[in-house]
């Protein structure tokens, strides 16, 4: 492969296999039900027809894969500082990416790619158009070379050319996360995500089995009856224990699959992160493109002495799908205080000093208490006064009220804004206490607002818009907020620091 990427070129020839594989996967996904039906309904004679159809699908995907491979070319236009991709079987598509809009370049390897020995390379852009670009088949050396080229795009012919940038230079990792720490992480974080995953899986399984039975005209509610039997057979408490166990197990497995052998190392001023059990995920990012640096810790994690770190990058201000959001947020699961400080040092240039702390007014409590506690409990009391049976649930209502008050009060005591010369740190949370750190020069715009009835008590709100999301400070002293805003505006407008 031409190593300077200046001429239009194709991907690795073995890429045909990957593209065929992808096509096959898509076709099968589209036709799975008819195929299953055919297997079920056809007799021996019609089997031939079936085999022919399968053969045709294979042939078509091979053809499409080949055409895809032929039509996909890419090159680097050094003069214009652009990376250009031509692709498309039926309609020609030309994608042009300006190199300075590139935010990060990821090199990944799926299982199939591992078998063939190639990598895929994914380019993330910060452009407002949010184009996504990936090369599906590229050999290891070219992948790293291209990555180097894309990220060090300044028209210079220095250092990198002579340095012989062979694959990932074996630098001593800054941070390695051991299996033990991952186990702790799995035990203590992201319950919500695992729960969502489990529920999604359960629903999908239930739905698919029903669909399948329906397709074979044999659905008489067996699934439901099996489920019902299962539930009555177990006592409810046992079921809860089981669910908790499955939840924790899922959590731990998920953490291991995603973050196995997590390493961070420094490479030419950028951070190289690598992790993953089955498919290894490499991400290179330059610290100055990080917009919000956040770390969070809950009670268990504090006892076990570790925290989670998230680096948020610009997401072009567009509403993004969960997946995209996930990509622009880089997570470092489980680092201890010293490691956190080292990482902050690397990303921010220094550890944020303890700044002046601003606390919200007690009116912070009013709305959450009213909407989350007074209204629901009020509705319960109203209903209970009409329906006798509901009275027996009153301990639950009391527990809900007390717990609610406690949670809202904690969220009030944790809602803090700390401001120092260059940094703004926002703390929040109830169980997971998070700290979001931004440079004041990474603010894009500022909004302040006040309700008329708060004028006399001098209470107002502040929103700081950054390229990676909003920072909110609610129910602050409005005079102080205005003073802060004037100070930040002064910094933003007199300084010339780039936000990206």
């Amino acid at each position: 492969m031409n190593q300077d990427f200046s001429q239009p070129q194709r991907q690795s020839v073995t890429g045909i296999i990957i593209m065929t594989g992808n096509m096959l996967q898509e076709l099968i996904r589209a036709f799975i039900i008819p195929i299953l039906l055919m297997i079920y309904k056809t007799d021996y004679k019609q089997m031939m027809v079936f085999v022919i159809i399968v053969g045709a699908i294979l042939l078509v995907s091979l053809l499409l894969g080949y055409l895809n491979y032929r039509r996909f070319t890419f090159f680097l236009d050094e003069a214009k500082q652009e990376f250009v991709i031509n692709k498309g079987i039926f309609k020609r598509i030309q994608l042009t990416i300006q190199l300075d809009k590139i935010q990060q370049v990821n090199i990944n390897q799926s299982l199939l790619q591992k078998v063939i020995g190639i990598y895929s390379l994914h380019i993330d852009t910060a452009g407002t158009d949010g184009k996504e670009v990936s090369l599906k088949a590229i050999d290891e050396q070219s992948a790293y070379r291209l990555k180097e080229k894309l990220l060090n795009h300044k028209p210079n012919l220095q250092a990198h050319e002579t340095e012989n940038p062979v694959a990932p230079a074996p630098v001593l990792p800054l941070l390695k996360i051991s299996a033990g720490t991952l186990f702790k992480v799995g035990l203590t974080s992201n319950y919500g995500r695992s729960l969502a995953l489990l529920i999604g899986f359960a629903f999908a399984a239930f739905h698919n089995i029903k669909e399948l039975l329906k397709a074979f005209d044999t659905d008489n509610g067996q699934v439901e009856s099996v489920l019902e039997k299962g539930i009555t057979a177990f006592s409810v408490s046992l079921l809860i224990v089981l669910v908790l166990f499955i939840l924790l197990a899922t959590n731990i497995i998920r953490t291991f699959v995603k973050y196995f052998d997590f390493q961070i190392s420094k490479q030419n001023g950028s951070l190289l992160m690598a992790s993953g059990l089955f498919s290894r995920n490499h991400t290179l990012l330059s610290p100055k493109k990080v917009q919000i640096t956040a770390y969070s810790q809950n009670y268990f994690q504090q006892k076990l002495n570790f925290m989670n770190l998230t680096l948020r990058q610009a997401h072009a201000g567009k509403e993004q799908s969960e997946k995209e959001l996930h990509k622009s947020n880089l997570e470092v699961p489980g680092c201890n205080v010293a490691e956190k400080d080292a990482l902050l040092q690397l990303i921010l240039g220094k550890t944020p000093p303890q700044g002046q702390v601003f606390i919200p007014n007690f009116r912070f409590l009013n709305l959450p208490i009213f909407f989350n506690l007074v209204i629901p409990v009020g509705i319960y009391l109203l209903l209970a006064s009409h329906i006798r049976q509901l009275w027996s649930f009153y301990p639950l209502a009391i527990a809900y009220f007390v717990l609610g008050i406690l949670m809202i009060y904690i969220s009030y005591t944790k809602h803090r804004l700390s401001v120092s010369e260059d940094f703004i740190v926002k703390q929040k949370g109830i169980w997971d206490i998070s700290n979001e750190i931004i440079f004041s020069h990474k603010i894009q715009s500022i909004t302040t607002f006040q309700f008329p009835w708060h004028k006399s008590v001098d209470v107002g709100h502040l929103h700081l818009h950054t390229a990676a999301g909003m920072i909110r400070f609610k129910y602050g002293n409005y005079t102080e907020i205005k003073q802060l805003v004037n100070y930040w505006l002064y910094q933003l407008e007199s300084g010339s620091e780039e936000w990206m």
Binding site: T448, Q450, M470, V485, L492
Partner: protein, 178 residues
């Protein structure tokens, strides 16, 4: 960084954004707001009338509901009028500011060196009165954008040109410096 370190800043000496004199939107923009509000309310009235026509049971409540509905109209007009009075924008040397809000008083400030691009929108009704909306976009996303409505078209064009030129000024030295 270096030129920053030794400066003592007297926070009280900094220019105060909250004391900036604002330019009110053009007087005829009130009519545009009224037209929009009326269209909304007429559609709602139509829907409610249909409901009363189709549903026999709620007919007896026609009078009290009608009064409540009228009160909502009046309240909306008062709120919009008050918010119109408070509305305003200011173009300062280094930033642009816009104050608005129906109930809450919201002030948004965008430093000129953080503007990504500028657009001019002429709505159907606004155009009838020779008004336009100036839209400023930042990298801060939906909520960080600024839409300044009710500026006379000629003036809006001038501001837009000025901002665009200003953007070039900011961007060019940066490019040369690289």
């Amino acid at each position: 960084m270096l030129h920053f370190a030794n400066e003592t800043i007297d926070l009280d000496q900094l220019p105060k954004y909250e004391e900036t004199k604002l330019n009110a939107p053009h007087a005829s923009y009130w009519r545009v707001i009224l037209i929009n509000l009326l269209i909304c309310l007429l559609l709602l009235s139509g829907a409610l009338a249909m409901l009363f026509f189709l549903n026999q049971e709620i007919r007896p409540y026609l009078v009290p509901m009608g009064i409540a509905y009228l009160l909502v109209w009046i309240l909306l007009f008062v709120l919009y009028r008050a918010s119109f009075k408070k509305r305003g924008f200011a173009l300062r040397e280094k930033d642009i500011m816009y104050k608005s809000g129906i109930i809450a008083e919201t002030t948004t400030i965008i430093p000129l060196n953080r503007i990504q691009h500028v657009a001019l929108e002429e709505g159907l009704f606004s155009r009838m009165y020779g008004l336009a909306t100036l839209q400023l976009f930042t990298a801060g996303g939906q909520s960080g954008h600024m839409h300044i409505a009710g500026i006379p078209i000629a003036k809006a064009r001038v501001i837009k040109e000025a901002l665009v030129k200003r953007l070039d000024l900011i961007e060019n030295p940066a490019i040369e410096a690289q």
